[in-house]
Symmetry: C2
Subunit: 335 residues, 2 copies
């Protein structure tokens, strides 16, 4: 194996041009397959070889500067603590799908008012935020950001992204519980922000789902994430809703909280209360009893997000959302 003199600085198109004995313009033409230009096969080869030889990669900055827009997608992470496994998997997938689409993902922590400093410095091609105020979105669009999409937003995109997910979840949870004979349901959620944001939304979707099936209105069951507290809340809740026999849990933690409260009360799932959680995490499979869960295919969501954003970036019509978020039920013993 023979080592070449490695350039101290990274190779630029000028280096490639020099080595290939052509102009920088030609290098650009060859490497971009510019349609309006034809280049002789011989020259093309020389340029390609030179690029290879120098392991040349065009500077994203210079390109962005020229085009007035970079190829980076600015992703504002969900609020602190919301980066749970399921979202983590989606983030992971997003990063590879975006890079396959020629975009790179820059992430920032979510703030209610994203600083112009940030999105304005990186001139992102698109911004994907957790929950974006309409005027912020408008401001971004005006300064050249093509795709502005919010995860839980009220804009069309936001609904595209979240709609199928939340709906699928509610539908499948209710379906599973109804199939087991439960018609009086509750919605369990843990966390300090009980019934805010996504939780509130999920609850509403759930209510609609129950209404559509002619079931009685589901009741909210906000639980603390400790066994003793969960037991107390659970007991009071049962007294207020004596008919309730099934619970749709917001996530794994909520399902586990219900389970642990029940254990303390001497109740047993599904006999005393049936549970369907969301997200097929290892903890759900290892619970006692193992939890029946509704899981979403993160790939479906990730692909749709990337599809929408790449379309926006390329100024193409946005693809219609998949009619399902790839939801499926993992049957275990809690229903």
């Amino acid at each position: 194996m023979h080592r070449h003199r490695t350039p101290a600085r990274r190779a630029t198109s000028a280096d490639v041009a020099r080595l290939a004995g052509v102009s920088r313009t030609t290098v650009s033409f060859v490497l971009n397959d510019t349609p309006s230009q034809s280049i002789s096969a011989d020259t093309r080869r020389r340029v390609l070889d030179a690029a290879q030889e120098l392991s040349y990669a065009p500077s994203a900055e210079a390109r962005a500067l020229g085009r007035g827009r970079s190829t980076s997608v600015l992703l504002y992470l969900p609020p602190a603590g919301s980066l749970t496994e399921d979202i983590g998997v989606i983030v992971e997938r997003l990063s590879v799908l975006f890079s396959e689409a020629g975009l790179s993902m820059v992430i920032h922590a979510w703030t209610r008012r994203p600083a112009a400093q940030v999105w304005s410095s990186v001139t992102p091609a698109a911004v994907l935020a957790w929950d974006l105020a309409d005027d912020d979105a408008e401001r971004m669009r005006r300064s050249g950001v093509r795709g502005v999409v919010s995860w839980t937003g009220s804009d069309e995109m936001g609904r595209w992204i979240t709609g199928p997910r939340e709906h699928d979840i509610a539908r499948m949870q209710v379906q599973r519980l109804v199939a087991a004979g439960h018609t009086h349901l509750g919605y369990a959620v843990t966390g300090g922000d009980h019934m805010h944001g996504v939780s509130q939304w999920r609850f509403e979707v759930l209510q609609r789902e129950c209404a559509a099936r002619g079931l009685s209105r589901p009741s909210a069951l906000p639980l603390p994430a400790d066994p003793r507290g969960a037991a107390e809340v659970l007991l009071r809740w049962r007294e207020q809703h004596p008919g309730a026999s099934g619970v749709c849990a917001h996530d794994t933690t909520a399902a586990l909280a219900v389970l642990s409260g029940m254990r303390r009360l001497g109740w047993r799932a599904p006999a005393d209360l049936a549970i369907v959680g969301v997200n097929d995490s290892p903890a759900a499979a290892l619970a006692d009893p193992p939890l029946t869960m509704v899981a979403l295919d993160p790939e479906v969501t990730a692909r749709h997000i990337v599809a929408v954003i790449t379309a926006l970036v390329r100024d193409e019509p946005a693809p219609s959302p998949p009619d399902t978020a790839g939801a499926f039920t993992v049957d275990r013993d809690s229903v």
Copy 2:
């Protein structure tokens, strides 16, 4: 509230210069507080006001182009599925700490051989990778990347970052179990990559820790993440290691797997087997019995990573690592 004419395109330093009636150079001097230049207080004000008025934010691309290095830190995410809550929290913190330090975090999915395409296009100021081959690291450094750090790497940085963490975990787990009278320990881990990478490393640290205390050599206990499988493995393991009475679990899932296997065998923690897990997740608090866990302060790790990287970027000597990763024990009922 009075709205100004919003410029169609984002403001550039030329716009600010025009509005302030000075040259672009001056704008640059003022906004960067260039030490070698003195600017009159009056001019300074005018520039600052103009910048404010136009809500000017310098273009990161142009700056990177000029400086030959961007302010982005390229973070290669842990392998698929490893973006669990604990790492998620660190990633979250990293993103805010980096942005406070004037760096922006670009994330990419980890591949064993990070494509030059990626890191070479964004000319990152630093690269933080999961486990970086030495020659890749060298290649990056040679093309101008200042800070090249790997999470689990064998380089000094890698050991700085992981060292205290893994050591703290092992030390506190063993300490807790020894305090409860257990001297014959096991190391429980789940996942397909049993005893590879971090798991292997953690196991070795654990062995050293036990050796240092004069305990017998701990044995590996690789478990499947389902109750039945866990029970089988657990039973066999107990037969081979009749004296073992305590388990250090790699994470929450491993701890839950041990617990669920024990339940199926009719064993009870801590009487039949004591467990200390890692990461104080909600699932641990809600388990039956509630799990005693060793938790690390993600803030300590995140701060150290950012400190090291910003130092490298600024060509300053790297700070010495904190002697602890902020580990603490959350006592519950499994020991």
